[in-house]
């Protein structure tokens, strides 16, 4: 049978035994799970049994592209990495764009499943279907950039795409990230620490195999339409012109720019750290990912009296500007750019890093920080030089960095109940830079999403607020026909959230970039279906794709249930139930606990999950054609059905 889009090959590597195996899954596997999150959840459920140490050799690390990944159209460049998370103990997963995912496809594989632990540091080189495990002792300890240079030199191919960890991953900091091409970052849930624990420094890929398309004309038609209209569509044009940093000033005026550990929603220094100032001062170029015409990434490089920042580490996105900036009370754009570069060199997630520092700053201000933790350092809000020092110290667990390396939850537990009230995390993952007070569905997503607080779950409330918004109009094919206010957490918002979370989950299964597709960007849902048809030749529909997304959510949920997660873990940090401080337009606003609880019960109902156990019912799993997942659940969950 003809196979289009995917290679039909999954590479299994055991680092303990240095054995390889190539699996050839059937078509139905690709059609039901698609790639990304779907593949990760499949292998984590099948190859683990629950209770494993995330940093032990028994954790399974999966890199998955997808059926669509690497096809010659914009926004199909992404891949997912997943494992049990050392940060949360839950389903761990992170997505990134760039070039590595497509290159893995060109080298002959759709996904990579890594088991065991190498006795000494190694890296993998995957070259057109061939695999080699290479010695990495000489690059262990190096910054990502230096290590990448040496790897490319050694394998003799400057065009090899390299994914790697920095010293933070080697040192198993629970929020260590993974970089590809130095500036495309799989930031969340500490996947870099899992690589480090396996003594795996890097994975280099090189491939020349083209992706076969069932209907190249159909794919080209969509790609051409988007390339033609990208500067006409307000959302894709805005992403190119100013990118995510454009949100700083907008959010500041709306009162939703997290400031001083999410205590306030407006920041006096917002202008100084805005996307507009970045364009005027340190922005050197706008960059993109594989085959993308939108180019939303920032290239920042400069040499000033104080800092040198290297262009090849990319530039701060909105999340970095707010995490290292407003949330730490810092209004110094050059220092934030330096901090972003340090995080990418050392291999630290900028969201978790920034928020851990902000938490420490507020603890000092409130007198909750013992002198022994500070080691003579003044960790108060607004200290840019201190912020930079703390990033470096965290990667090496030095000084105050020993404490920061525990993350917000770990530090708060040691500092006591007063500090726990200031700890802004869900399931142990630090919250992205969006205040749940002002973005109801984003906040709800923080609470329920299996990977711990994440903002890329269902889209932003602001997209669905007005009938004339291009984002809202674009989701009409899902039956979402009524605009809803940003702070609405009523039944209709939960319906919207649920549908949109299926779509977003499909994006995470299918290598699809939400900055290229609706509702955040230009490519429509019907064009998405055309792309899937054109790439695979499958007679498909939006219905089938949404079910792929829903299936993957249920599998990730089952993984968490097996690990002992329950309803109490689907919660929000105390801070969001307290009034927003400061002088912004949302001053005094808080999330109502009862409204939140009602929303949670309604969500479980819509998902057809058991309301007490927060777990999929057997009927739901059968409906999604994954009855085998039922057998992965512990007996006390299955009982009573």
């Amino acid at each position: 049978m003809d196979r289009y889009g995917y290679n039909g090959k999954v590479l299994h590597v055991n680092l303990s035994t240095k054995e390889f195996r190539v699996e050839s899954p059937p078509e139905i596997f690709y059609r039901q799970y698609f790639g990304g999150r779907g593949f990760i959840a499949y292998y984590l459920l099948k190859k683990m049994t629950g209770g494993e140490d995330p940093l032990g050799p028994e954790n399974i690390l999966v890199f998955a592209v997808s059926v669509l990944g690497g096809a010659p159209a914009h926004g199909l460049c992404r891949f997912s990495v997943g494992a049990k998370s050392p940060l949360t103990g839950a389903f761990g997963e992170s997505e990134a764009g760039g070039y590595w995912g497509p290159e893995l496809k060109f080298s002959g594989f759709d996904a990579l499943v890594i088991e065991g632990k190498s006795p000494q540091p190694v890296y993998l080189f995957i070259n057109d279907g061939k695999v080699a495990i290479k010695e990495a002792r000489h690059i262990w300890g190096l910054h990502t950039g230096d290590a990448q240079d040496i790897i490319r030199r050694e394998i003799g191919d400057e065009r090899a795409r390299v994914l790697l960890i920095g010293p933070a991953g080697e040192n198993q900091i629970p929020y260590a990230n993974i970089a590809n091409e130095l500036s495309h970052i799989s930031g969340r849930t500490g996947m870099g620490a899992v690589m480090g624990a396996k003594n795996l420094k890097a994975i280099a890929c090189r491939g020349t195999q083209k992706i076969r398309l069932s209907n190249p004309e159909l794919v080209a038609e969509v790609a051409k339409r988007v390339a033609r209209d990208r500067n006409e569509h307000p959302l894709s044009y805005g992403l190119h012109w100013i990118g995510t940093p454009g949100a700083v000033l907008h959010f500041n005026h709306a009162g939703t720019l997290p400031t001083k550990n999410f205590r306030e929603g407006t920041f006096a220094g917002a202008e100084k750290i805005s996307g507009e100032r970045m364009i005027e001062t340190i922005l050197q170029k706008r960059e993109g990912c594989y085959a993308c015409a939108i180019k939303c990434k920032r290239g920042v490089g400069f040499k000033s009296d104080r800092f040198t920042v290297d262009l090849r580490y990319g530039g701060p996105e909105y999340e970095a500007l707010a995490a290292l900036g407003s949330n730490c009370g810092i209004d110094d754009l050059e220092a934030i750019a330096k901090g972003n570069e340090l995080c990418n060199q050392l291999g630290l997630d900028v969201i978790s890093m920034g928020n851990s520092i902000a938490f420490l700053m507020e603890c000092q201000e409130k007198g909750l920080l013992p002198a022994s933790w500070r080691e003579g350092l003044d960790v108060s809000f607004g200290q840019a030089e201190v912020m930079l020092k703390l990033i470096e110290d965290t990667a090496f667990r030095r000084g105050v960095g020993q404490h920061l390396a525990k993350g917000v939850r770990g530090m708060a537990k040691e500092l006591g109940p007063e500090a726990e009230k200031l700890a802004v995390h869900v399931k142990g993952q630090e919250v992205p830079l969006h205040d749940a007070r002002g973005k109801a569905a984003v906040g709800f997503g923080y609470a329920v999403v299996e990977k711990g607080a994440d903002h890329l779950v269902s889209g932003f409330d602001i997209l669905y607020e007005r009938a004339d918004h291009p984002g809202f109009q674009a989701v009409a094919p899902l039956g979402l026909l009524e605009p809803l206010g940003v702070n609405d957490l009523g039944p209709k918002k939960i319906r919207l959230f649920t549908y949109m979370s299926f779509l977003w989950s499909f994006y995470n299964c299918a290598s699809v970039c939400n900055f290229a597709f609706v509702p955040r960007s230009i490519t429509t849902l019907n064009e998405l279906v055309h792309l899937v048809k054109g790439i695979t030749g499958w007679e498909t529909s939006l219905w089938e794709l949404m079910k792929v997304g829903e299936r993957a959510i249920n599998m990730a949920r089952a993984f968490n249930v097996r690990e002992g997660f329950s309803k109490k873990d689907d919660n929000l940090p105390e801070r969001f139930f307290q009034p927003l401080e400061g002088e912004g337009p949302l001053k005094g606003f808080k999330i109502d606990r009862q409204v939140f609880q009602e929303a949670l019960d309604l969500y479980y109902g819509m998902m057809n999950w058991d309301k007490e156990k927060a777990s999929p019912t057997r009927a739901k799993l059968v409906e999604l054609d994954i009855e085998w997942v039922w057998d992965c659940l512990p007996p006390h969950i299955k009982g009573g059905h």
Binding site: P234, Y237, W241, F251, A254, H434, G459, P470, P519
Partner: protein
């Protein structure tokens, strides 16, 4: 068909000239204007305030119409530092007006 402008086009053209001259007559001063995110393209991709003439009784709505920005592209209007939701608010010379487009964050 003659060689000159069709009469309807001529009418539109003269009407436009008339509007411009009326604007000039009634111009009362300048505001400081900035257009953000996707709106930058309506003002030559500037990142900061630039002077912009206003007429007597200029409102947020009439300003946006003169700038020829489609309503669906507008996210937030900020006058002298505070968000304004009513498009009929009158602008005065010296006002600082920031108009934001659509953002999603991330």
């Amino acid at each position: 068909m003659g060689m000159g402008l069709p009469s309807s086009a001529y009418k539109r053209w003269s009407l436009k000239l008339n509007m411009i001259s009326q604007d000039l007559r009634q111009e009362v001063g300048q505001i400081k204007l900035s257009l953000h995110n996707n709106l930058a393209r309506y003002a030559g991709e500037k990142t900061n305030f630039f002077p912009w003439p206003i007429s007597e009784g200029e409102t947020i709505q009439s300003l946006i119409e003169k700038l020829k920005i489609p309503w669906e592209e507008i996210g937030l209007v900020v006058v002298n530092g505070s968000v304004k939701k009513d498009p009929q608010i009158v602008l005065y010379p010296g006002d600082e007006v920031k108009i934001f487009g659509l953002v999603g964050g991330g």
